[in-house]
């Protein structure tokens, strides 16, 4: 059984709390999926270091601190070619890219304009995420996360806090294991 935790990734901005997910298994090193993404592409002298830093700034400053998770910054990920598993009710979304042929994609789930959950991502080297060798696994993984988070919200296993900035269990605790 794949169990994962939702943990706060960045909540010091005034507009939006950014969460990430972390697998709860012995063979995982306990690093969040989003940290894995940024740790991979922000190694000094990595050819995509600059792009990864741009994405990081967009998330932490423009979305996290200034505007929140508005439509300006999100694209629905293409999902039309995908038959199984069933489509989640909410789409997996991508942080909108910056500039011509931006090579990186980071998947996410936007719960509200104040709460976003980031997953992992990779290099988009084909027309769709599913066709990108580097990205397809992360895309399907993101769908799995979204489906479980969506179910947890619908069944009221987790809820949005009164100040609308955080997720919590029904008893108010914040260790979110799904």
């Amino acid at each position: 059984m794949n169990i994962f935790a939702l943990e706060i990734w960045y909540d010091e901005g005034s507009a939006c709390t950014i969460y990430s997910v972390k697998w709860m298994s012995d063979d995982d090193d306990g690093t969040s999926e989003t940290d894995k993404f940024f740790d991979k592409y922000t190694i000094p002298a990595h050819p995509l270091e600059d792009e990864a830093l741009q994405l990081f700034r967009l998330i932490t400053h423009s979305i996290g601190n200034k505007y929140g998770a508005t439509d300006d910054f999100f694209d629905r990920a293409e999902n039309s070619a995908q038959a199984l598993p069933p489509k989640p009710k909410k789409w997996v979304e991508e942080i909108k890219e910056l500039g011509i042929n931006f090579p990186l994609r980071l998947f996410c789930y936007r719960i509200t304009e104040q709460i976003v959950i980031l997953f992992n991502g990779g290099i988009k080297d084909a027309k769709t995420a599913q066709e990108s060798k580097n990205l397809s696994t992360k895309f399907y993984e993101a769908q799995t996360f979204v489906k479980k988070i969506e179910e947890a919200l619908q069944s009221k296993m987790i809820e949005i806090s009164d100040d609308e900035r955080y997720l919590q269990n029904l008893d108010g605790t914040t260790d979110l294991i799904l």
Binding site: Y10, F38, R57
Partner: protein, 137 residues
């Protein structure tokens, strides 16, 4: 509360990357706001700019970097300034409560309706210029 990766990247992102992304995000949000305010669709904007709607979508979805020329065209059609460059001389700085406060002045351009043949320019009536030195004895 935040991850160590976030801490590391907050401290290592170069300033030029920050400025580029901040400007980009501000432009994206402002253009979308103006389109909404003016009730203008991307299709209509494309028509006015004599471009294909897909090209406008590329501008607004980030697949196309803004150039100064494309910004000027957008600014002219939307009738609002999108990019403002502060003039050094019009900046005033003062210190208050331990902060350096700076006031900038900007010039913004607003597109007016096209002048037709029946509308003739009229020079403003020239008033007698005051001479600030006239009272100096």
């Amino acid at each position: 509360m935040r991850s160590k990766t976030v801490d590391r990247l907050l401290n290592s992102t170069p300033k030029d990357v920050e400025i580029f992304v901040d400007l980009y995000a501000d432009l994206l949000v402002r253009i979308n706001e103006l389109l909404l305010e003016k009730g203008m669709t991307k299709k209509k904007l494309a028509e006015k700019l004599d471009k294909k709607p897909s090209e406008i979508s590329k501008w607004l979805s980030g697949e196309h970097n803004f150039t100064l020329r494309s910004l000027a065209k957008l600014s002219a059609e939307l009738g609002e300034a999108l990019l403002e460059v502060p003039k050094k001389k019009t900046q005033t700085a003062f210190v208050e409560d331990g902060f350096i406060c700076k006031i900038h002045s900007f010039v913004s351009y607003t597109k007016l309706e096209t002048i037709t043949a029946d509308k003739v320019w009229q020079m403003p009536v020239e008033s007698e210029q005051s001479n600030e030195l006239s009272n100096v004895g």
